[in-house]
């Protein structure tokens, strides 16, 4: 049980009379890449927000490393659906933002920032402001910022939804690279089934509201994965069958 990074126990969330999350329980292993899929509006974002205590669960608990989630103690990074770069900071300063909040020593900040900026390929743009960058570069900044703190848990809420397919594949590959290198536990929300099958180790399928777990399945495909391969398409159709929200 000690390698369970995140344990969700009977998580329930109500907004007034509206029951969104209904008694959800599952575990996430350390270093696992979990994709959460489900119909739009089924409460995936609510679910992530409960994990980070941005919303308080109505009942149930969420444990990280055996303790209730505490953002000051646990090292969590969250990539939001909306663009969240700070317009008043340069790329470099944006990436360093999390480290500065956590009051890490300067030397460590510099090292982490350099490392991560190089990993996402933004060295040339270190001193640019977000207003001068394109959408994909902005997402890279956000990803760099998220990884710079070497988080235990990385939460991602449909981060590539706004980008075109080519960019999406590129960033997905980069993400997998970062994940392999740093061993972060990742919970990735998407409604794009192809994306989920491409990047995940495990897939958590949610139902419509009131949302419960339809199924937790392991992704049988080995890496590297090819989207057009027969096996890939089979798995994809399998997941689609399971979701069948229409």
């Amino acid at each position: 049980m000690n390698d369970m990074k995140v344990r969700v126990k009977s998580l329930t969330k109500k907004f007034g009379d509206l029951l969104v999350l209904d008694d959800i329980s599952f575990d996430v292993k350390k270093g696992q890449f979990l994709c959460v899929v489900g119909p739009t509006g089924c409460g995936k974002t609510t679910f992530l927000n409960c994990i980070t205590r941005l919303y308080e669960p109505t009942s149930g608990e969420i444990l990280v490393d055996g303790e209730p989630v505490d953002l000051r103690k646990h090292n969590v990074s969250y990539i939001f659906q909306e663009y969240s770069t700070m317009p008043w900071l340069t790329v470099e300063e944006n990436v360093a933002f999390g480290l500065r909040i956590k009051k890490k020593p300067e030397a460590e900040i510099k090292e982490s920032v350099d490392e991560v900026i190089e990993m996402v390929g933004l060295q040339k743009f270190r001193n640019y402001y977000p207003s001068q960058l394109s959408a994909s570069m902005l997402q890279r900044v956000v990803i760099a910022r998220a990884f710079a703190t070497k988080p235990d848990i990385l939460l991602m809420d449909e981060p590539y939804g706004q980008l075109d397919i080519e960019l999406r594949f590129k960033l997905e590959d980069e993400l997998i690279g970062l994940w392999k290198k740093l061993g972060t536990t990742i919970i990735f929300i998407t409604h794009n089934i192809e994306e989920a099958v491409y990047i995940s180790e495990d897939i958590l399928i949610l139902t419509n509201k009131p949302t419960t777990i339809k199924q937790m399945m392991a992704n049988p495909l080995s890496r590297p994965r090819v989207v057009t391969e027969k096996r890939f398409i089979e798995v994809r159709e399998q997941v689609t069958e399971l979701i069948k929200w229409w």
Binding site: T52, V76, S77, W88, T90, F97, G98, I101, K102
Partner: protein, 262 residues
């Protein structure tokens, strides 16, 4: 082609100004439509302008002395207005209880022109530096508070959430997210407050003062010297422009990277 038409318009602008002065000259010195005690010609105004640098009459001070007197008071009141106004606006926007209590009072005080406080202050503090400086302070306070407030209120929730997931304390969120977000608005407030402050010192001096540019033009009305009045008005405008220009430079330096909607 663009450059040609740009140049053409610049020439038109120059002609406009020259034309205006020419018409002025025409009306006063050539056609003699007005007298020296209603509207002096441009030549006389220029003459008086140069003369006033050294001549203390007819109001008791040289141009520079009056300028310095006005600036001294204006900048003191203005500085106090910023120092108190900006943090006050930030606090009002950040702490809901302060917002609920202070804002209605502020909304009412905002409707009172800064100058209206001057007579009360004169009764309490007498005619002199303090009453004028406090009047300026009141005039400069409002734009600083309102703009700082609006700026902090503009803070995007997602930025706060980013900070929060990184484990930021409330205080860190204030200094690392809210205030940087508010900075363009704060600078606008500071710029507007400068306009208010400069305007208020002139007004305060028109009412009760013994020196300053406002005093100068008021005195010269009584003795029918519109040439000095016009010189004074132009000086007031000029200094106001210079001050605004300085603030503009500071503003651009501080607000790099952010585009700010007016």
């Amino acid at each position: 082609m663009e450059k040609n038409s740009d140049l053409k318009f610049k020439v038109i602008s120059c002609c406009s100004v020259i034309g205006f002065i020419a018409v002025w000259y025409l009306c006063t010195d050539i056609l003699q439509l007005t007298t020296d005690i209603t509207l002096p010609g441009p030549v006389k105004v220029l003459h008086t302008f140069i003369d006033k640098f050294t001549n203390k009459s007819p109001d008791g001070g040289t141009l520079l002395q009056h300028m310095w007197s006005s600036l001294r008071v204006a900048l003191s009141g203005y500085a106090m207005g910023i120092i108190i106004g900006v943090p006050l606006g930030i606090l009002m926007a950040w702490y809901r209880p302060v917002d609920l209590l202070a804002r209605p009072v502020f909304d009412f005080v905002k409707a009172i022109p800064g100058l209206a406080w001057a007579p009360l202050l004169i009764i309490l503090l007498g005619i002199g530096f303090m009453s004028k400086a406090v009047t300026i302070f009141v005039a400069a306070l409002t734009p600083c508070v309102l703009n700082a407030y609006a700026g902090v209120k503009q803070t995007r929730e997602v930025h706060m959430w980013v900070a929060r997931t990184f484990g930021a304390t409330r205080r860190q969120m204030l200094f690392k997210v809210a205030i940087p977000t508010a900075l363009p608005h704060i600078m606008t407030g500071i710029r507007v407050a400068l306009g208010s402050a400069w305007m208020s010192i002139v007004a305060a001096e028109l009412i009760a003062s013994s020196s300053g540019l406002g005093y100068m033009i008021q005195q010269c009305r009584g003795i029918y010297r519109p040439d000095v009045i016009i010189v004074g008005m132009l000086m007031i405008g000029f200094i106001g422009s210079v001050l605004t220009w300085i603030i503009g430079i500071i503003e651009r330096a501080v607000v790099k990277g952010q585009t700010h909607d007016a």
